[in-house]
Amino acid sequence: MSEPLSGECRDLYGLILVAKRDQAVAMLLEDVERSGFTDMFSRLLEPVLNEIGENWMAERISLAQGYVAGKVAEEVLLASAARGEKPPAAGKGPVVLCCIEDDYHALGRKLVGIFLRASGWDVTDLGNDVCAPELVDKAVATGARIVGASAMMLSTAVNIHSVREELDRRGLSGRIQLAVGGAVFRLRPELVEEVGGDGTAPSALQAPALFDRLLARSLSLFPEEPA
């Protein structure tokens, strides 16, 4: 359980729940003007996103409300990046995301990308209908320790197994962790193992915590070599 929200956090949370996106963004940017991005992030945005994530996971709020949270976070991050500021936890490392071959359901993947960026990950999003070699090539090229593959339906989720096969074939399993997600994994959690996934998250807002765990696992198996 997260800490009880402060009054200003509750105000922000309320604006997001009723889809007052512009007011929520304005509130956050005004706060940035007063106290800087790092303070705003840790005092306001982060706790509110955590609260929304918990309630989304507990199915107390809707996908649409999670979407508004994502768009608010995205707009604030873009505005802050334009000022040359980065999230406080920036520098977690590169990750690569995609919807797997034959899958075209982009929304969940986009939200995952937004929340990962807000948490300091350097996200490369390859888009829809990506085959396993392309995903693994990009992970190798960027030095990503984690790839994320998304699928909404059972018929496309099974294609994620080709990523596991590609990682195995190149001897990269363990070093590169495979995060999987999409509606069908909530319905059939056993699919995570069936397609060779290393983990999943119940909602886009829980993706940063999953990626933190997978990075730790990768580093424990294959520690960084000293430069």
Binding site: A19, S62, A64, Y104, K110, V158, A183
Partner: protein, 337 residues
């Protein structure tokens, strides 16, 4: 009793010789006949052949029209991508903006090969089955069709931030629903089954559902020339049924496997038909003995509920499901006392 009589007994709440059951085996007909999916999803005669094979092999009490919702999207201009193990998927939405949609003419059933395939499949099935078993026609709900033809994100943007524009979109998709439901009814379908995601409070806020989406669904369903079955669409529904119980012309609800039928009855009262109990996408991975146990548990739970049909929920039963899994359902239903 015939399947049709058995299903009718469930609708009217009368006793039948046994509990009716159905599984969404739209896709599975292709597995039984070995028909390539692109042919199966384009040729009504091949679809009929597959469904007759389903009837002969499994014997469900209700058969379904093709479960290929993207064909309705294609009629508006969506680009589809074939899949090896399922129906085609929407690769690209039809419109880049809502304004484009507003300027687009309604697709005509007789002029679009995909829509004509859906309707003609119903016609051939109804003729072949000759009142022995009802055919249920599957159609995209107006609110979900909007997401398909515009894309999920633009549709959410409209629902959340431009409700007047969202209502205009729903007028168009609602008109399509009325046209298609009329065509399917004329062809011989007994009812329309429509999976609905974008009215479920797990997808959109209840307030949005009440103010923007539900009025459009009410209008579309009221104008359908036959009964509509409200399918849960992929999310649990029983806890939200209070929102939907007064939608006109709704014969019943197909619930998620995770739903509670007791909760559903508390919300709806005794009149509506309830369907569900088995998750379609789980059917390939479960063992026959587990399926039999599940069926028994569901039927025991619904023993006193005459208006219940055991049915698969969620999406179609997967193509690679062992036939013995489906027979386990059939046998467990037949043996249940």
């Amino acid at each position: 009793m015939t399947s049709a009589q058995r299903v009718m007994a469930a609708i009217t709440g009368d006793k039948a010789d046994r509990r009716p059951f159905t599984l969404t085996l739209s896709l599975y007909g292709a597995a039984l006949t070995g028909c390539p999916l692109p042919v199966y999803h384009a040729d009504p005669a091949k679809y009929l052949e597959g469904q007759l094979a389903v009837r002969d092999a499994v014997g469900p009490d209700i058969l379904f029209s093709p479960f290929v919702l993207p064909l309705e999207g294609r009629a508006f201009g969506c680009t589809l991508a074939d899949q090896q193990t399922g129906p085609p998927n929407v690769r690209k939405p039809a419109f880049r903006s809502i304004e484009e949609l507003l300027d687009h003419p309604q697709p005509r059933v007789d002029a679009d090969p995909g829509l004509a395939y859906l309707v003609e499949s119903v016609r051939l099935m109804a003729q072949a089955l000759d009142d022995e078993a009802p055919v249920a026609g599957i159609l995209t709900a107006p609110t979900d069709l909007a997401a398909m033809i515009l894309g999920l994100e633009p549709w959410l943007e409209a629902l959340l931030f431009d409700p007047d524009m969202a209502r205009r979109v729903l007028e168009i998709t609602g008109a399509h629903f009325r046209t298609m439901s009329a065509a399917m009814m004329e062809a011989g379908t007994a009812c329309i089954v429509t999976p609905i995601m974008f009215c479920n409070p797990r997808i959109i806020n209840p307030e949005l559902a009440r103010t923007t989406v539900l009025p459009a669904l009410r209008e579309a369903f009221a104008a359908a020339p036959g009964p509509v079955v409200f399918h849960h669409g992929g999310n649990p529904l029983s806890q939200y049924l209070g929102l939907f119980k007064d939608v006109p012309n709704v014969l019943g609800f197909v619930l998620d496997e995770r739903d509670s039928f007791i909760e559903a009855r508390q919300a709806l009262g005794p009149e509506h038909l309830l369907m569900g109990g088995l998750s379609g996408p789980h059917m390939s991975a479960r063992k026959p003995q587990d399926i039999r146990l599940r069926v028994k548990q569901v039927l025991d739970d619904r023993r006193e509920d005459a208006r219940f049909i055991l049915a698969s929920s969620h999406a179609d039963v997967p193509l690679d499901t062992p036939l013995e899994n489906l027979l386990a359902v059939r046998d467990a239903v037949r043996e249940h006392v």
